[in-house]
Symmetry: C2
Subunit: 275 residues, 2 copies
């Protein structure tokens, strides 16, 4: 009934952060919706598919702690009806969450939220969901700690193995960083490009993949930095030091310069979030 889905007739971009706050129903099964039939309906923006939008909605709700580990979602039929989507779309969304280790579905038991340790927190999508709300400061510190471990070591490897192409990529990224500031999208993209170029120069696939995750997280936090106050420092000189050391093949200096860069970024982010 009244399943007007297609036919974008009228802006039906309903609110997202609406009811579904089941704080009064502490027992177990979540996903119920008290209201009669006005559906929450997480509508997608252009390009995103419906099941993608549902996965985003549910994933964000899970990582934000709205659904806690051990909770069991209300059944497929009930939940898909509550969201006003077909069971197919809902199931495909659940498959995505299951693939990322957020939930597990079994007959008779239902689909329940897995413990945090099973979550694929380094998955770019999961990171995006985690940062779509208020990010957990503790988790952000974890990410920067990981970055402080990985990136200096990567810079050392890059100083050993880089070739002319890698150096050119880094120079290009540095130039773009100089032209645009970190306040613009282009500037942040250039920052990512620089770090990606360093990681790529390590000739290590695992590190490159990890860079995609860390880079995404750093991009989010950088945006938070910008939100709170104007950029406090010009990041280009620090990056140039890293480049110079890598270009010179100086392993120790490269690692040290990158360590300094990450430490400063962490300092900025911490003061921005705590302050």
């Amino acid at each position: 009934m009244l399943k007007v889905v297609g036919k974008d007739g009228g802006g039906e971009v309903r609110s997202m952060n609406d009811s579904m706050t089941n704080g009064d129903a502490p027992p177990e099964t979540v996903g119920e919706m008290g209201s009669d039939e006005a559906a929450p309906k997480a509508r997608r923006g252009t390009g995103r598919r419906l099941h993608g939008a549902i996965a985003h909605k549910l994933g964000a709700a899970i990582v934000s702690g709205e659904y806690r580990p051990g909770d069991t979602l209300s059944g497929e039929v009930a939940f898909s009806e509550a969201l006003d989507v077909s069971r197919s779309a809902y199931r495909e969304a659940v498959q995505v969450l299951s693939a990322k280790g957020l939930v597990e579905s079994r007959p008779k038991t239902g689909t329940r939220v897995l413990p945090r340790s099973r979550w694929n927190l380094l998955d770019p999508d999961v990171l995006a969901w985690a940062f779509s709300g208020e990010p957990d400061i503790h988790f952000v510190r974890s990410l920067f700690e990981l970055r402080a471990i990985v990136e200096p070591a990567a810079a050392r490897l890059a100083a050993e193995r880089r070739d002319k192409t890698d150096l050119k990529d880094m120079r290009d990224a540095l130039g773009a960083m100089r032209r645009h500031t970190l306040a613009t999208d282009a500037g942040r993209a250039a920052d990512r490009d620089f770090h990606n170029a360093v990681l790529s120069a390590t000739r290590n696939d695992a590190l490159v993949v990890l860079s995609a995750s860390i880079g995404a997280a750093v991009a989010w936090t950088t945006q938070f930095k910008q939100r709170s106050r104007a950029l406090p420092r010009n990041p280009v000189p620090d990056h140039v030091k890293v480049y110079d050391a890598i270009a010179a093949g100086d392993v120790e200096a490269a690692g040290e310069a990158m360590r300094l860069l990450v430490d400063l970024a962490l300092e900025d982010t911490r003061s921005a979030m705590e302050g």
Copy 2:
């Protein structure tokens, strides 16, 4: 036609490692099957669902290079018919692969394999698929290099932050390692437990998640080690050195002991795979 699916009338547990070797169709669209209608049908073992089995089959085929980046899978209807499964099951499998960054589906264009850089190589499932066939030696080296970066740093953090519970977990794991050898499943599990305990002691969620990925990869390579020749060295003393340093709170010694441990493991694996 003749899609007798349900009603288990007759054992329809077809073969798994069957045809679908499209080495002779190099152009682009893959997934075609020359034979008339004898379906390949990747059947699942108990517990695994059908779409999970399909995802495993396709995922393994992609990471093993059978389908190369840029290739376009034949349409949903054609491919699902070729696999003798419903379109729904096939679509759910593709959603899983899409969630892990292996493929991307768009209307009209079809489903195509994404470039390696988009793959979520640290995802436990993807790692399992990568190691289900002959693992790429270069990739294994990358993983150990990452391990050599992360684990010593983690040991240093653990030496700072561990509490009594962490130390007890490590002791228990060491005891289990002593009782069983690395040749048994229980022994390998104990090895994983020890490293997980170290990572947990860092109080860093990102590191813990990474440990799940690295641990899985190490487990696979350890099995390969065992396959080639009897275990060449008793790993317990090296682990004890790490434990002693962490228990004593000696940051430098912990990092150094762990570095040595990982280096030796890499050495063993390399000689086992190259030899």
